[in-house]
């Protein structure tokens, strides 16, 4: 019985891309390929190719955007797909929605796949809203009959009644999105694919879209594939999780385990090399070499080069390379600013008067923050070091990123997300009803 529940089966999907521009080499490779094929041999370029690591310089012109990815999705599941940029998420979605074909492997499906990233695809500016609803609906695979049945609902859902017989070139961009989303919302695909593209819409649009996704899977038993970088959305929506990294399937299964896996350094190396930062001040007699963040939530630890969890105990480890053989007492300070450069807080032993010394060639200093009560956003850290009574040895200004990840800080499910909520989350605040 289990088996018949599988609605989508992805088997060993791989996709190879050629880097660089298509030029004079193109035709020679094509001819070579063709020559191998007519002799009944395998494509010579399939054997080469490297994993898709964006940052390292490779030797091959061919890379694998996806390599042997396999998974199954059962009916009614919401499968979250996460991974770093370049992990292959979009390529996978493109193959699933049949925009491009895989290089090898196969996908079997029992239902129609429609992706919601196509909001507004094929809208013609000269045609009226109504005409565009028909055209867009048909592009997404609806028949005229289906659209006829739903046209009134679509129009009222969009809230564009007044403009419906006006060419869409007269619409505001918001109206276009509303109308386009209304069409997509009334599609009835068996499998809905949603890309992170949703993130560009305004808050209302996102809420509507996420609500719609939940509706689709809860009430209609449809299947949703959801790609996002938003861990909170992933955790609240998905029932299964797939983690991709460099085109390979790293993890499939339970959502919270998957998120932990993704955020922990099992998935990504702690690339915290501070020596690569060249813009720094100071006399360089000692240098900040590495920084890493460890969050400890209820006994569970994970280490990362930039990510920390809001509301957990944080350890910041700083490795310092000492170029002088002398032992020195030092002050170290960390200034935290937001992306606009507004100072948020400072941590320094200049005020706490903890004594820190540089003794050996390599020293590691650990700062502890008992409860990180910062709201989730990106902060930038300046790292400053000075000999007590001497001069500044190293100063890296605003170049170290610390990403604070949203958690249920107040344990109420209500999470402050607005700008007006500021930077600091105050724990232990209480309200008493006094007559």
């Amino acid at each position: 019985m289990e088996e018949s529940n599988v609605i989508l089966k992805v088997e060993n999907i791989s996709k190879q891309y050629r880097l660089g521009t298509l030029g004079t080499g193109t035709i020679s490779h094509d001819l070579n390929r063709w020559w191998h094929r007519i002799r009944g041999k395998e494509d010579p370029y399939l054997k080469i190719g490297e994993t898709n690591d964006r940052s390292t310089k490779g030797t091959s012109e061919y890379v694998w955007a996806l390599k042997d990815v396999s998974f199954e999705v059962k009916k009614g599941e919401i499968l979250g797909i996460i991974g770093k940029n370049g992990a292959g998420k979009s390529t996978l979605l493109k193959i699933l929605s049949r925009v491009t074909g895989p290089t090898t492997g196969s996908i079997k499906t029992k239902g129609r796949i429609v992706s919601l990233l196509e909001v507004g695809t094929g809208f013609h500016p000269e045609m009226t809203g109504r005409e565009n609803v028909y055209l867009n609906g048909a592009i997404l695979g609806m028949t005229k009959k289906e659209i006829n049945e739903k046209i009134d609902e679509i129009i009222s859902f969009s809230g564009c009644e007044r403009y419906i017989d006006t060419p869409t070139k007269r619409y505001s961009s918001g109206m276009t999105v509303r109308l386009a989303f209304a069409v997509a919302a009334f599609l009835e695909p068996d499998i809905l694919v949603v890309d992170e593209v949703l993130a560009v819409g305004d808050a209302e649009f996102q809420k509507k879209a996420i609500g719609k996704m939940q509706d689709i899977s809860n009430s209609d038993g449809r299947t949703v594939l959801f790609v996002s970088h938003d861990m909170a959305a992933i955790q609240s929506l998905c029932t299964e999780l797939l983690v991709l990294g460099n085109g390979v399937n790293l993890f499939q299964g339970n959502v919270s385990e998957g998120v932990d896996f993704y955020l922990s350094d099992k998935n990504q190396e702690v690339n915290s090399d501070l020596l690569s930062l060249t813009i720094r001040k100071g006399n360089k007699t000692s240098l900040f070499k590495k920084i890493s963040f460890t969050s400890n939530t209820q006994g569970k630890e994970f280490k990362d080069s930039s990510k920390v969890y809001s509301g957990s105990k944080i350890f910041i480890d700083i490795e310092i390379e000492n170029k002088r053989a002398l032992s020195r007492e030092i002050y170290i300070a960390m200034d935290f600013v937001d992306s606009k450069g507004i100072a948020v807080m400072n941590i320094s032993n200049e005020f706490t008067k903890n004594k820190l010394y540089l003794k050996d060639k390599k020293s590691i200093i650990r700062f502890e923050i008992a409860n990180l009560n910062l709201r989730s956003m990106d902060y930038y850290i300046s790292l400053w070091g000075c000999e007590v009574g001497g001069s500044v040895f190293d100063f890296i200004e605003n170049q170290i990123k610390m990403e604070v990840i949203e958690t249920d800080f107040f344990r109420t499910g209500a999470i402050p997300r607005g700008k007006q909520h500021g930077y600091i989350l105050l724990a232990n605040n209480s309200y008493n009803f006094e007559k």
Partner: protein, 283 residues
């Protein structure tokens, strides 16, 4: 238990060569007609003359051709009034030319939409062929008007019984234009060189397609080789023969054209099918 399951469809690296997937095309038939409607309705939006542009273009071309080729260069068109000779040629030629040029950039022109959503790609060129058929209908209507005018003003022209085969002529033109267009559009995805070839190649092709120059002229100058192997020339000449009752039609020409049209069309589908799968990676 690993029994065969009923999959709706399968996504594989390679298509079967002739797998046109007609069932799916049929499912998307509404889209086909909406594209046709879009093409027809939106072309002349915000113009004053609107669909009249459909008529102005062939009429003025015919007038200019008549002045240049027949009045200045004194080329004889036999018993047929030169204007009607040119108009007949241009009306047919236009249909072929539009089918060819508009389908030849299918992939390039629609990459934004093709890159986001799947529907049978062949819908696009098919919609071009159909919307051009409507345009052809209007142009053919104006041809009939002039035809009647010349008949009533005493010209000796008459169609012959083969005029009933005219739909086949249209079909041949559509297959030839669509087939060539699909081949070119498929190759343009990788090699942009062909875009340049199409724009002036079509113009040059017109001169050896008997649109304005009659076959007799080629014969006098011993240049028949230039037109004999050109299926479009045979089509134009044949259409003039059935409409105006004059023209040199050979059985060889008819069969040759039919075979070439079908072959080009099938080859076009084959190439298009092979390309549509992953053209988005190379375009």
């Amino acid at each position: 238990m690993n029994k065969e399951e009923n999959w709706l469809y399968e996504i594989n690296p390679k298509n079967n060569l002739f797998d046109l997937n007609l069932k799916e095309v049929w499912r998307y038939r509404d889209l086909l007609f909406l594209f046709v409607k879009r093409d027809v309705v939106t072309v002349y939006k915000q113009t004053i003359l609107g669909p009249l542009w459909y008529l102005i273009q062939p009429l003025f071309t015919s007038i200019v051709f008549t002045l240049v080729f027949n009045k200045i260069a004194n080329i004889s068109t036999g018993g047929i009034p030169p204007f009607l000779f040119n108009l007949a040629g241009i009306t047919s030629w236009n249909y072929f030319k539009d089918c060819l040029t508009e389908t030849s950039d299918t992939f390039k022109k629609n990459q934004a939409i093709f890159g986001k959503v799947y529907f049978p790609r062949v819908i696009m060129p098919m919609s071009v062929v159909i919307s051009n058929l409507l345009k052809f209908g209007i142009q053919f209507g104006i041809f009939i008007c002039f035809y009647l005018y010349f008949v009533f003003s005493g010209s000796v022209i008459s169609p012959n019984i083969y005029v009933l085969t005219y739909p086949i002529v249209l079909l041949c033109m559509a297959m030839l234009g669509l087939g060539l267009g699909m081949i070119i559009s498929s190759m343009v995805t990788k090699y942009r060189d062909l875009t340049f070839l199409v724009s002036f190649g079509v113009q040059l092709l017109m001169y050896i397609s008997l649109v304005s120059l009659p076959y007799s002229l080629f014969k006098e100058n011993n240049l028949t080789w230039a037109v004999d192997f050109n299926p479009v020339a045979h089509i134009i000449e044949y259409s003039r023969f059935v409409l105006l009752g004059e023209g040199s039609v050979t059985l060889f020409g008819v069969l040759y054209t039919l075979i070439i049209s079908v072959v080009v069309f099938l080859f076009g589908i084959l190439v298009f099918n092979k390309t549509e799968k992953s053209f988005i990676d190379t375009i």
